[in-house]
Symmetry: C2
Subunit: 192 residues, 2 copies
Amino acid sequence: MALDHAILVSLLEKPGSGYELARRFERSIGYFWTATHQQIYRVLKRMEGDGWVDVRDVPQHGRPDKKEYSVADAGRAALSAWLAAPIEPESVRHDLAVKIRGAAFDDPAALVGEVERHRQVHTDRLAHYLAGEARDFGEPPAEGGPSAADGPLDAERELQHVVLRGGIAYERMMIVWLDDVLATLGRFETAR
Amino acid sequence: MALDHAILVSLLEKPGSGYELARRFERSIGYFWTATHQQIYRVLKRMEGDGWVDVRDVPQHGRPDKKEYSVADAGRAALSAWLAAPIEPESVRHDLAVKIRGAAFDDPAALVGEVERHRQVHTDRLAHYLAGEARDFGEPPAEGGPSAADGPLDAERELQHVVLRGGIAYERMMIVWLDDVLATLGRFETAR
DNA sequence: GTCATCATGTAAAAGGTTACATGATTGG
DNA sequence: CCAATCATGTAACCTTTTACATGATGAC
């Protein structure tokens, strides 16, 4: 029930078409909420029907027209209501953990390649995050540290940054853990 | 497509009824793969039809009979095939990250209670994991360090332990990050 | 010319959630 | 007697995934 809200947040950050949203769900937002373009188009259509979003046809030169969506008042209200409601489950699906436990009943050493592949994905993602952090949140040329002259706190920017820091912490933890997994699997490899 | 495999792994670790599996999915396994009893009963029935699991009626004194499931050869083969196939997506759904980014368009300070609640959940879970680790994997009374006399490596035990260490690392990371989130939100709270 | 990218969708199948339903025993 | 726990399920609904489908432009 929260793909709606993820889309609303993304549209508040910047209005865009279904296609553009789908691309964002492959990058920034997609790192903590996955969605395919089929899902996105369906939800946009439903939210349009419910008056949560407004649509505007944007003709483009050379390219097909796009429908630019932006959040309507009703959508903002729906988001507010969701923000105020507690969420519990944080349901997780860690295939790799299931595989590791399952490997005990098969060949543990056969899992090494798979774990290394995952480690590479997390290494790449970490590098990507760190590059994004340096680009978007790099040290401002502060003289004498933060002061009132820095202007009001930009909530959107600060909160995006703290979520990104979460992603960075997650990738770092995963890399350390996957090394632990590899070391553990290695003990069986040599023991065979 | 992997609830099947999570159930197979759990049944290989220890045969049991649908009810018992549902309880395990609330505890150990459930921390990296969620499932309700309705899902489990449905999948067990399907796997029984496909010959992946065997069933045995166990009459009990005082309690309703239970159907004890165990993994058949075809189930083991299916698990092996899954273990050998690469998995990519690791699809994530972090409601809280969406909420944090969404809070920029609402009241960031209003999220403090929710974040604190999540922090508590992770603190409790960490304590639970650490207790489990001490109980199940506590230092054996080794004299002179590890040696061949310790016997062969127990793959099931070692791999369960490394998965548990992953859970511990995850909870620790989350607590540190949630403190970062709280500090970030706090800057808006006082700025209002 | 062919491939990648932009842009939007439909349809079917699989999987997950929520609500309802039953019935026995044990402990307070 | 009432609540909790053990034990198993059905039905309806919603969401997600996978496959198919179309058509244009720009770069090579």
